[in-house]
């Protein structure tokens, strides 16, 4: 455990010692702020229109604003997270520091978990920074906090899944650009796979929506924590980490 934390700490330190952390957190916050502004304006306009039409029922801020906004952010994660994970292994292999890790008294699992936790911590920081926007809503409005919390849990799971995927792909190559592009493409496929629609037939649709990373997020955004979806994300992550451990191990054999 101490070893895993040592690696996670080093990963996080590396992120902040290079521009990566600032760029990623900054971009995420910027995009989040932009969406926040868009949805807030739209929401305010609609509220006023409803009031002008004489409807006394207040507009639901959760349904009308927070849910679609966080839904957008789940897609932004898809664009940004490959940049977080692409260097994780590729860079170590290229610069020879992987040799340091593999000859240190560490197990492959400790290395893989450490790197995963390092990237996940940075993603958590990204989420935390973005949540400041949402906190503003609590200041002036009265959103349902449970639904916000489950949405964030969902975002956390989506991000963790993309990170597990990205780390695995990074472990396959020495070239971080290649790792980034492939991660992005695969993550994109896992997202758009649910767009096949009715043409795939009933079974096809079921399989496809079972695979789609974004589809499983839907219930979270409604305020529902369904075990089915939690299991999906956890197994996605576990499978990604398992593949990474195997890939690191095979690095030893291939040399």
């Amino acid at each position: 455990m101490a070893n895993t934390l040592a690696i996670a700490g080093k990963e996080l330190r590396s992120y902040f010692a290079s521009p990566i952390a600032y760029v990623v957190i900054g971009l995420y916050a910027l995009l989040f702020g932009y969406f926040f502004l868009l949805f807030l304006t739209a929401f305010a306009e609609q509220s006023m229109r409803m009031a002008a039409m004489g409807m006394n029922q207040p507009v639901n801020v959760n349904q009308m604003m927070i849910r679609p906004m966080l839904g957008n952010m789940s897609v932004i994660g898809l664009f940004i997270l490959p940049m977080l994970t692409m260097r994780a292994y590729a860079e170590e292999k290229r610069s020879g520091t992987f040799e340091l890790l593999l000859t240190a008294p560490l197990t492959d699992l400790q290395i893989v978990l450490g790197k995963f936790l390092g990237s996940l911590s940075l993603y958590t920081i990204m989420l935390a920074v973005s949540s400041l926007n949402v906190l503003l809503l609590f200041w002036w409005g009265n959103p349902e906090w449970r639904q916000v919390a489950t949405s964030y849990l969902g975002l956390f799971f989506i991000g963790a899944s993309f990170i597990a995927l990205g780390l695995f792909i990074s472990s396959l190559t020495k070239n971080q650009i290649v790792a980034g592009i492939i991660t992005f493409a695969v993550a994109l496929i896992l997202w758009v796979i649910s767009w096949v629609g009715d043409s795939a037939g009933e079974l096809g649709r079921a399989i496809v929506s079972g695979l789609s990373v974004i589809e499983h997020y839907d219930d979270f955004s409604k305020g529902v924590v369904d075990t089915k979806h939690v299991v999906y994300y956890l197994s996605f992550i576990a499978f990604g980490l398992f593949l990474t451990v195997k890939s690191v191990d095979s690095e030893r054999w291939r040399g």
Binding site: S14, G96, T97, E99, A104, W253, R254, G255
Partner: protein, 317 residues
């Protein structure tokens, strides 16, 4: 301390290391000598647990590298060919991280980092980023990393590569100072390094061990025939025939010509000193004798003869 038995490593069809066996005793410095691509790095990578051998086994610090890799690694310090530094970390941060993953207890960490920085003479760069260091400093930070957790076994892959002459001498002294407490294997293709630092030498070529011995014994092994270098001013005459006619001379070769000065390599029968006869012959003919010295066989010759197909050609060449 280190025992390597019938170690073989193949990459696909290429055999990088072929049935290598040797032992290193506690406190010894073993030099690993071979041309580039001979299998030095591969052997070291197997010993440090970076990659498993295809066949054979190795015991490092009392632990089999395949059966108890973590125990073996805990007792091994390794400096790879390119120092494994994180450019974005400072030297102190980097070494602290290394101390954590090699299992240095929290209480000792700071002291160990400080001690290893001082030993490797990088303390003045403690707060500099690793990526901004010169090649020599990088190499020494790598060395600091290797000795950080006070390992029983040190495996150093070309520890003096990229250093300037002064730093090379300092690093050699450091490595010599480490022997005794530590068992050291160092690889190099710089020959004087081996004779100056190592007690024993393994010469490896094309993945095979071609010789294991002390530097002196290896040199002595080559000195079957005693060769002399003679430089004469014969006024343009060729002295080859004259030297050949001397009793006990086996072979004569012109080595170099500098105007009127001609250098010859004269090889005598084993155990027979031909210097007196050479000097006499030169003087009686009225030539000028400018130089006469026995040609010492250097480790370089040993190395070349052992690692080159046509040994005799190269020795003379």
């Amino acid at each position: 301390m280190i025992e390597v038995k019938h170690l073989t490593k193949r990459y696909g069809r290429v055999t990088a290391v072929d049935d290598v066996s040797f032992r290193v005793e506690k406190g010894e410095i073993l030099g690993f000598l071979g041309p580039n691509g001979a299998g030095k790095t591969t052997t070291m990578r197997v010993l440090t647990g970076y990659m498993p051998p295809t066949e054979g086994s190795a015991v490092v610090a009392g632990f089999d590298i395949l059966e108890q890799p973590l125990e073996a690694k805990r007792r091994t310090g390794y400096l790879p060919e390119t120092p494994p530094l994180y450019p974005e970390l400072t030297v102190r941060e980097y070494l602290t991280f290394c101390a954590r993953i090699t299992g240095v207890p929290r209480r000792e960490r700071e002291a160990r980092v400080k001690a290893s920085m001082e030993k490797a003479r990088v303390a003045d760069m403690a707060n500099r980023h690793c990526g901004k260091l010169s090649k020599g400093y990088k190499q020494r930070v790598g060395l600091a990393q290797a000795i950080l957790h006070n390992p029983d076994v040190l495996i150093l892959d070309e520890p003096t590569a990229g250093l300037d002459p002064k730093q090379i001498i300092e690093t050699r002294e450091l490595i010599k100072g480490l022997a005794g407490d530590h068992t050291v294997i160092l690889s190099t293709h710089i020959l004087p390094e081996v004779s100056q630092t190592c007690q024993r030498v393994v010469i490896i070529n094309k993945g095979r061990v071609v010789a294991i011995d002390t530097p002196d014994a290896l040199t002595a092994r080559m000195q079957g025939h005693q060769s002399m270098y003679v430089q004469v001013d014969a006024g343009g005459a060729d002295a080859t025939a004259t030297f050949c006619a001397l009793p006990g001379v086996v072979q004569v070769q012109r080595a170099d010509v500098r105007g009127a000065l001609v250098g010859y390599e004269v090889e005598g029968e084993p155990g027979r000193d031909v210097r007196r006869d050479i000097a006499h012959a030169v003087v009686t003919r009225g030539w000028g004798l400018l130089e006469l010295r026995p040609m010492r066989v250097s480790l370089e010759d040993v190395f070349l003869s052992l690692t080159t197909e046509d040994a005799q050609e190269v020795r003379r060449g």
